[in-house]
C-alpha cells in the first residue's frame, strides 16, 4: 500500500524453480511465464545448485520439487529457509502424501502444491501463500497439534500454541475452511490467516530448535 505505483507497474512475482527433470523444468517455466504477473527467474536442477544460485537472485517464491537426487527437497527447503527467511517456499509434489507434506512444512515450507494443479489454481495458490495463508488440511492441522503437544513438555514456553491458535487448528481438524473458522470465532479471515502463519512460524522454529538441540546433544553427549 505504501508503494502503489511500483505495485501497479512491476508487480511481477519472481519465481525460482528447483526440479531435476529437464522436461518438467522447461514446462513449469513456460507455464509460469505464460501468466503476465509471474516470472520464472531461475531454474535449478538440484538442491545443491539451488543453495548456490538462489540466494544471489532472491526470488519471491521458490517452487521446490520434493524428490531431488542427493539432497532432498525437504532438506534443501530447511537450508534455503535459513538463508532466505523472507522467501516463500512452496513444495511441489506429484502425489498427495500428507506425511511428506507435513515434513516439508516442518522444515520451513510455506505451502504445498500438487503438480497436477490447474494453472489457474496454481496462480491463486501462489498469491494465497504470499498473503500468508498457507493451506492446511484437517490432517495437517491434526499433526501440528499432536506435534506441539508432544513437544510442549520439553520445549521452551514461547513455542506453545496460543489458545486462539489451538482453537483454529481444532476447527481445521474438523474440516472447516478458513472462512468458516472466521465465522465461528467471529474473526476476519485475514486474522485467521495471520494466526495460521504464526503456527507455521512456530513449527519452523520448533523444528529448528529441535535440530539445534539434536545437534548439541550429538556433539556434547554429556550435557
Amino acid at each position: 500500500m505504501t508503494k502503489p505505483p511500483k505495485d501497479n507497474v512491476t508487480k511481477t512475482l519472481k519465481i525460482a524453480l528447483v526440479e531435476d527433470q529437464p522436461k518438467a523444468r522447461d514446462n513449469w517455466c513456460r507455464l509460469i511465464n505464460s501468466f503476465p504477473d509471474l516470472r520464472c527467474i531461475c531454474t535449478c536442477k538440484s538442491g545443491e545448485e539451488a543453495l548456490r544460485v538462489i540466494p544471489e537472485v532472491p526470488p519471491d517464491v521458490i517452487l521446490m520439487d520434493i524428490f531431488l537426487p542427493r539432497m532432498s527437497g525437504i532438506e534443501c527447503t530447511a537450508q534455503l529457509k535459513a538463508l532466505l527467511p523472507q522467501t516463500q517456499i512452496i513444495i511441489l509434489t506429484a502425489m498427495d502424501d500428507e506425511e511428506l507434506i507435513f515434513m516439508a512444512l516442518e522444515a520451513g515450507a510455506d505451502g504445498y502444491l500438487l503438480k497436477r494443479t490447474k494453472p489457474a489454481d496454481l496462480r491463486a495458490a501462489l498469491l494465497e501463500v504470499l498473503e500468508g495463508g498457507a493451506p492446511m488440511s484437517s490432517e495437517i492441522a491434526r499433526r501440528v497439534i499432536t506435534s506441539f503437544r508432544s513437544k510442549a513438555k520439553t520445549r521452551d514456553e514461547s513455542l506453545h500454541l496460543s489458545t486462539r491458535e489451538e482453537q483454529i487448528l481444532l476447527l481445521l481438524t474438523k474440516g472447516c475452511s478458513n472462512k468458516m473458522i472466521a465465522d465461528r470465532l467471529e474473526l476476519s479471515v485475514v486474522t485467521v490467516c495471520h494466526h495460521l502463519k504464526h503456527v507455521f512460524e512456530k513449527m519452523h522454529v520448533s523444528s529448528r530448535t529441535e535440530a539445534a538441540i539434536r545437534y548439541l546433544n550429538l556433539h556434547n553427549p554429556t550435557d
Binding site: 518438467a24 513456460r30 505464460s34 506429484a94 498427495d96 488440511s137 484437517s138 490432517e139 474438523k174 468458516m180
Partner: protein
Amino acid sequence: MAWLGLSGEPCYARGDSLIMRTSQEMFTAKAGGRERRKPSWRASLGLVLCLLGSGLTRAGWAQSQEGKALVEMRHANAIVVENNPLNTATNLQDSLTERGSYNFSDMGSWIWGAVTRDRQTCRFWKSFEIPDGAGIVRARLRITADNEYTLYLDGRELGRDAEWRHLYEYDLTALLSPGRHILAVDAYNSSREAGMILGFQIGLADGRVVKVKSDTSWVVGADDVPGWEPVRNWQKMSALPASWPPATVVASCGSGPWAVSPWYIDIVPPMTREVIPFWQTGWFQITVLAVLGLLILVTFWVLTQLALHTKEQRLLQRERARIARDIHDDLGMRMTQMVLQGEVAQSEMPPGSELHTHLSQMCEDARGTLRAMDEVLWAINPRRDNLREFTTYVCRYAQAFLKDTAIQCTLDVEPEMSTIAFNLPLRRNLLLAVKEALNNAAKHSHATELVLRIRQQNETLLVEVRDNGQGFEPTLANPERNGLANLTQRMQELGGRCHITSQPGKGCSVELFMPLVNRRRQLLRLDWWRKLDPLPPKPEPSITSARHPADSKPT
C-alpha cells in the same frame, strides 16, 4: 533228587562244597546218582562209605569215585552246618508242614515229558482253583528241576534257578486270590536225567488246604511230543492246550535218581503284589509321552505355518510397497508431466479454439487418472494398513468430494485415532461403502450440511454419514434403485453391519459398523490364516468405480 533219607526220616544233604564245583563235576555227581538206579555195587559201596565216613544218619551222593566222595563229604560237613537255612529259627515256624520235621509229603513226583533227551525243554502247565470267598492264610510253593526251571504264576515269572540239589521255596500268599490260576514251569534239561518236582500248598482261612503237586494232571509241551504245537505266551494261556499230553512221572518223591533230600531249601523272600500307581503304569506313561510328542509336533506345525505366513505377509507387503513405488515414481511422474505438457500447449493456444478445448479436456482426464492413481496408491501402500491412515483418507476424500457441492462437510473424528491394524480388504471396502453413502447424500439428499463421524468403540469402528437433507421413508424406498441397499449387503459380506435411519424431512444417517478384529484372538484359531481375508473370492469392485464428481465435470 529226592530228599527222603534212606531210612525214611528226613536227612539233609550238605552240599556247599559241591555248589562250588564246576558243572562238569556236578554232572559227575549226578552220573553217580543215575548209576544207583541201576543197582550198582559202586553206588552201594559209596553210600555205605558215606554213612560210615560221616557217622551220621544221612544221605550222601553216590559217587563213582569213592575216594573223592569221601573227601567231599567231609569237606561238605565242615561248611554246611552253619549255612544251612533249615537250622534258622524261622524255618521252624512252618505252619503248614512243620519244617522242623522236614516232611516232604506235600511234594509231588518228579515229572517230565514222555521222552527224555539232552538239551531238552519241557513246558509244564497246570490250572488250579481257589474257592470263592476263601481267605488265603498262607501259600507256599516248593519247586526244583533238573536242570533248570522258570516258574510262572498266571503268566508272570516268579523266579528261576538251575540247581537241582536245592529246593526253592516261594511264599505266594500275597499273590493269590480266589479263582482260577495257572501255574507254568519252563524246565530245561541239559543232559541225562530230567525232572521237575513241585509242591504247592495253599492254606485257607476256613482250615481247608488246596494242594497242587507235580503229577500226571499236568500237561507237557515239548519239542518232541507228537502233535505238539508251540504256543506263543503259553505261560499265560488260560485253557488247557489241546495237543499237550499229560506229564509222565519219572520218579516219585524220594526215589529214582534223585533219592536224596535237598541240600538246601532256598527261601525266596515273600512275594508281594506291588501296587503300581497309575502314573507309573506303562500305558499311562506311553500316553503322556504320546500326548507330549503330539503337542510338540503341533507346536512345530503351528510355528512353521506362522513363520510361513509371516514370510508370505512380508513378501506381499514388500511387493505392495514396490508396486506403490513404481506407480508413484514412474506412472505418477509421467502422468504429471503429461498434464504439465498439456497445460503448456493449452496456454500457447488461442483460447476458445477447438484444439484448446480438446487439450483442456485431455488435461482434465489426465488429472482424473492421477486422482484415481492416488487412490490406488493409498490402497496398495502397506504403510496405510492402519486405522489412522484410513481415517485420514476418508476425511480427505469426503472434503474433496463435497467441496464442489453445496454441502458443507464437518468432520467429527477422534483427535488421536489408534494405529491398530486395518488391513487392505477391510479398509478398501469400507471406503467404498463410505463413498456410496457420500454419493447418495450428494445426489439425493439436497442437504446443506453433512457430518462425517468416525469413532472407535471398543473393537468396532463406527463411520457415520449424517446429512440434514430431505430424508426418505425407509420402508418406501425402492430396494432395486436404492444404493443404500447395496451398502447393507456389502457391510454384511465384510462381517460388519449397516444401520440406516431416515425420516422424511429429517435427514438421513448411515452408520457403518466394522469389527476391528483382534489379531491375538485370531491367532488362537488353528486355521486363522485362512480367515484373515474376510472377503469372498468374487471379483471385487474397483476402488475407483465411484468417480469423483470433478472427474466427469466438463471444464
